[in-house]
């Protein structure tokens, strides 16, 4: 029964990554600049790989800034997701009360609203004559409209936070909801202050959920190019996802695209493995 799907996944999940390797370690047609895949691993050629790595870390590395920027943006945006997501998840999980179900529906709504629509909504608001600028100038906070969409890091990072914070909230909510309230009450009864109860009881109990949440938002952010494209479009805010997208959409850059995908994947494998193993481990006692 499982054979058809297994065959499907072998053909369309594993095979694509083999083709990726064959192209990344293949050569480039000297005339047409199209990638020539090398199917036999014995003849794999590292010229393209080394060339791209040199463009990232070597002298005159023009891809380097985008990679460094990715790290900074993703770190900032993930931290902000946590700072916003934790209080919200905490409130809904512990104080939702009668409003718990409607609150959860509102928290889930972004998952059923297309990501493109959510970006379109912000592009509308952040235009030069958009509502955000009008509100800020109207209140006297700005003398003249600010070019939010003109390649501003602050816009890109806020866009990433807006896009991915719902994932963080769900992961944290699922974990905080499972914390037994009597543990927190016991801490308070034994004289711990609010802050102390949080730091010594709740926080340690949610540590692995925080890590999972950070991974769940940071991974898609590092492959995201459309948030950047729509909210900035400037090469000065480009991230790793943009490098891949640009390479893939430029004729003659397909080989470089494959190498970049391969590199990004190599970097992301440890967190992905951590997520998969920790989630699988959590599932087992429930299954028993």
């Amino acid at each position: 029964m499982a054979a058809p799907a297994a065959a499907w996944l072998a053909g369309l999940f594993l095979l694509p990554f083999y083709v990726l390797l064959a192209i990344a370690f293949g050569t480039v047609d000297p005339l047409f600049r199209t990638p020539v895949p090398e199917w036999n691993p014995r003849y794999w050629d590292t010229t393209q790989l080394l060339g791209t790595v040199r463009d990232i870390v070597g002298r005159g590395a023009f891809l380097g800034p985008a990679v460094a920027r990715t790290l900074v943006y993703v770190a900032c945006a993930s931290a902000l997701c946590l700072a916003i997501g934790y209080p919200v998840a905490w409130f809904v999980a512990r104080y939702g009360g009668r409003r718990r179900t409607p609150l959860l529906v509102l928290l889930l709504a972004p998952f059923w609203i297309s990501y493109m629509m959510r970006l379109l909504a912000w592009v509308n608001l952040l235009q030069t004559d958009g509502l955000v600028n009008r509100a800020l100038t109207g209140l006297g906070l700005l003398d003249q409209p600010f070019e939010w969409l003109g390649g501003r890091p602050v816009t890109v990072v806020s866009g990433l936070v807006y896009g991915y914070v719902p994932y963080m909230i769900l992961v944290l909510f699922a974990a905080l909801d499972r914390i037994d309230p009597s543990l927190l009450e016991a801490a308070r009864d034994l004289g711990a202050s609010r802050a102390r109860t949080f730091l010594r009881v709740a926080l340690p109990l949610s540590r692995s959920a925080i890590l999972t949440g950070l991974i769940v938002v940071a991974l898609p952010m590092s492959g995201d190019y459309f948030t950047n494209d729509l909210l900035s479009g400037s090469p000065h805010t480009a991230m790793s996802g943009n490098l891949i997208n640009d390479a893939v959409s430029t004729p003659g850059q397909g080989g470089r695209g494959a190498v970049l995908v391969l590199l990004l994947m190599t970097v992301l494998i440890p967190p992905m493995l951590w997520y998969v193993t920790s989630t699988a481990r959590q599932d087992r006692p429930e299954a028993a």
Partner: protein
């Protein structure tokens, strides 16, 4: 279980502990009584949560409102009209051929993907359920991996596969469906496996003991029991494909095979008219109606078994 026993908010009878708190914590005695109450409702957290929700939802509401704007602006209200839906003879979603085609293409992709991914995933879940052992674990692993693997990595890999190895697969609808099914298989797999675990093996074994063949036991006992899970996964796959962007964009052939999400991406910075808002609103209505109807039908299907709903909750917690 603990949820049922949890008090909603503050436990009653703990509110008036003013005097005791004063003697125990003289340093905080000058603070108002409500602050000293250890079980007070967290006003700051509540405000923060509602602010977050406003930030999260209001931009969408405003975008929907401006799809009904009578003028071209997306920030100045010029009166209500259905111009951008169908009244405008050239620019409205209905009369702009490319926008209307995008709408049709999105629905087509969602329907095809659901029809292929759900049977494959259900069969897989049933098969792996009796396999267990190492093979099962390998695929559980793969399944979880698709949840965190950045979509762009798989999308580029499939694009390279289709353009360099399986050249007989044309870009466009065929390639898009192949990619989408690969990405969406996890939904039916995860949901049906969770449900299989709660069903247990007893029903099927009872059917076999009473003389049913394996095929009959599967068809007449297991599948009806699985129906809510199958249904739920179909709804999720359909709604998710309508919103998909990365895979469908890389695997599209030309403007004719670009669905709604790609049109919105392409138009947002280049030719912004409220028609885009209208298209996005239609897309929103599609997914929200699908999910709402799906949820209601799911509740109906499982109305005899309250308390067994964690399948969907589980999934949602892991998106």
């Amino acid at each position: 279980m603990s949820r049922a026993a949890r008090p909603d908010g503050a436990p009653p009878g703990m509110a008036g502990s003013g005097v005791g708190a004063e003697t125990l914590q003289p340093a905080t005695a000058h603070r108002p009584a409500w602050w000293r109450n250890p079980w007070r409702r967290p006003a700051f957290l509540a405000a923060f949560t509602w602010l977050y929700l406003a930030w999260s939802i209001l931009p969408i509401v405003i975008a929907v409102l401006f799809s009904f704007n009578a003028g071209r602006s997306r920030s100045t209200w010029q009166g209500f009209s259905l111009r951008w839906y169908w009244r405008d003879p050239v620019l409205s979603v209905w009369h702009d051929g490319t926008l209307r085609a995008a709408l049709g293409h999105s629905v087509e992709l969602a329907a095809l993907t659901t029809l292929i991914a759900v049977p494959l995933g259900v069969a897989f879940a049933i098969g792996v359920d009796r396999w267990r052992g190492r093979v099962g674990r390998v695929f559980t692993f793969q399944m979880l991996l698709t949840f965190v693997l950045p979509e762009i990595l798989l999308a580029v890999a499939i694009l390279l596969l289709v353009t360099n190895m399986l050249e007989f697969v044309p870009l466009g609808t065929t390639a898009q469906v192949l990619g989408l099914v690969t990405f969406q298989l996890s939904y039916p797999m995860v949901i049906c496996r969770a449900r299989l675990l709660t069903i247990g093996r007893e029903y099927e074994e009872a059917a076999r003991d009473l003389g049913a063949s394996p095929a009959q036991a599967l068809w007449r006992v297991l599948l009806p029991l699985l129906a809510p899970a199958i249904f739920a996964s179909a709804v999720l796959v359909f709604a998710d494909v309508i919103d998909d962007f990365v895979i469908v964009r890389y695997l599209s052939a030309d403007a004719a095979s670009e669905p709604m999400s790609v049109k919105i991406y392409a138009g947002t910075r280049s030719s912004p008219t409220p028609a885009l808002n209208a298209l996005a609103t239609i897309m929103l209505v599609f997914t929200l109606v699908t999910v709402t109807l799906g949820y209601l039908a799911y509740r109906r299907l499982t109305r005899d078994e309250r308390g067994r709903e964690p399948a969907v909750r589980e999934l949602v917690a892991r998106v």
